[in-house]
Amino acid sequence: MKTNDVILKTGTKVVSFMIFLFSIHIFFAGHYTPGGGFVGGLLASSAIVLLLLAFDIKTVKKILPVNYITITAAGIIISILTASAAVFFNKSFFTHFFDYFHLPLLGKTSLHTATLFDLGVYLVVVGVTMTIIQTIGEDE
């Protein structure tokens, strides 16, 4: 008998979106408050895992048609390139740069290259977690 999990599916549609937004919030908050790329990445993958629980692997692949191994590799490359950028400014490897900018809507904001490095971490965490879960899930 096929069970009808309409409550789970409807709840997931709302909740996974909220988890995803929260993961982005945590990611950007990392410099001044607890958070950062690692927790952010884990939260984002937990949103995807919730989708996997409510629907099945094929549907989720249709929603997010990405290869998670590629995402991992992209994350590594973003992090390496951010760290090596300093070499071209005649500074030591891994030197970060920051400055204050006036952005529309946000006002005076400090932009730091550490965020780009964290973006790499975020992508690697999402990629690795989802690769693990999907590989085990698809295994017969």
């Binding site: 191994i69 590629t70 590799a73 590594i76 490359i77 390496i80 090596s84 300093a86 030591s92 490897f93």
Partner: protein
Amino acid sequence: MNNLILFPVIAPFLFAAILMFIPKKVKLQRALTIVALTVTILGTIWLLVRVYHEGVLSMTLGDWQAPFGITMVSDLLSVLLVLTTTVVTLFVVLYSFPTIGVPREKFYYYSGVLFLLTGVNGSFTTGDLFNLFVFFEVLLMASYLLIVIGGEKVQLRESIKYILVNVISSAFFVIAVAYLYSITGTLNMADLAVRIPQIEYVGILTTVAVLFLVVFGLKGAIFPLYFWLPSSYSAPPTAILALFGALLTKVGVYAIMRTYTLFFTMDIGFTHELLAFLSIATILAGCIGALAYFDVKKIIIYNVIIAVGVILFGASQLNESGLQGALYYIFHDMIIKAALFFMIGLIAILFGTTDLRKMGGLMKTKPALGWFYLIAAFGLAGIPPLSGFAGKLLIVKGGFENDHVWGSIIILVTSLLVLLSVMRIFIYAFWGEPVKVNEIPRSTYRQMFIPSIVLVGLSILYGIGTEWLYPFVSDAANVLQNPSIYIDAVLKE
């Protein structure tokens, strides 16, 4: 800025990540791996020239002050180890083309090799104890992939043992680092070398030193802690075995050499005596194993353990001859072990078995292989014009100078056992009545044979050019013997 120091670490890392995008394009992967390794070798040679002319180079990541950031240090020892490692890896990759098989190549094999190289080069270059732990984990993670890749039954069984042992030793590593940090309040190696002599609690520092010996001994396979190595290393294919046998134990040996010369020198009478005793026991245990088996892979694997003992005995003497000998021997051993594993792999494929008793008469059909194997075997045992001689001579001399006469005599006697163990392979496989040999295509044979003879050629050059290499080795040993050179280079204002 000395960013060049990081080049041998970052270049393979970047290429490994790029290779993850194209797992199915085998030809492109092969080409990119060769490019990555060539570029790394060229960069390392440039670094070697700079270190040779300017002395120890150091840099701290992110332009922080020296003890507060992560320091990377390149002295002659580490840059020579990085160069040897990368060259050996290049030959392993060339040897993998015909042997490793397309399914493995499509499953991130070359990424794994390059990540392993990242970890090994990083461990040789770092100047921070916790960073050393991280690089150890990088190379171990990559080695977990390489030991299990392909998923044969024996690989699955051995990878469980291998991972279990290494997870436990990594946990011990973290505990040891935590103890040391709570005593000294720093993890920068040069800073540790400054602070440890000022601490009066020698007892607890000695305990931590022994704990580090246990940790690095598990990675580098010294006497009571080598139990996991023979069976684990015999599981993966020959190319991966050569990579592990030539490189991985040497990282543990290097870590012992670095910590036991740079900062754990507060109670030499206990710690270094223990190290000398354990290395002699390692040699004896290795010899017993090397003579006990009729399996070609096992014989050479036990020779890896013997070499670890020989190098550490030299390092434990803390005198000029002992340290120089240890350095001569470690480079020789990395090259010759890779060459021996290559030829063993070729012999095993030709006969279709690794059992010596089922082999024979290869000298009639493949004389070149026989002669090159013989040269490699003589080089391993340390017969004078070849590469193993200078290192062992200096190590033995160091032992005699330091009242470790018994140790030196054991090393001399066991050299004969080493020779016997490798000559057994020669006698069984190359002499006697010819046994039916598997047909392998000429091009495959050539692709497997050429990396082996080039490596044997390198080891011959190494043996003949001993005198020419002396300035490099004596400078490297000088830094080990006088930690103040290292400390000044890192903590300079």
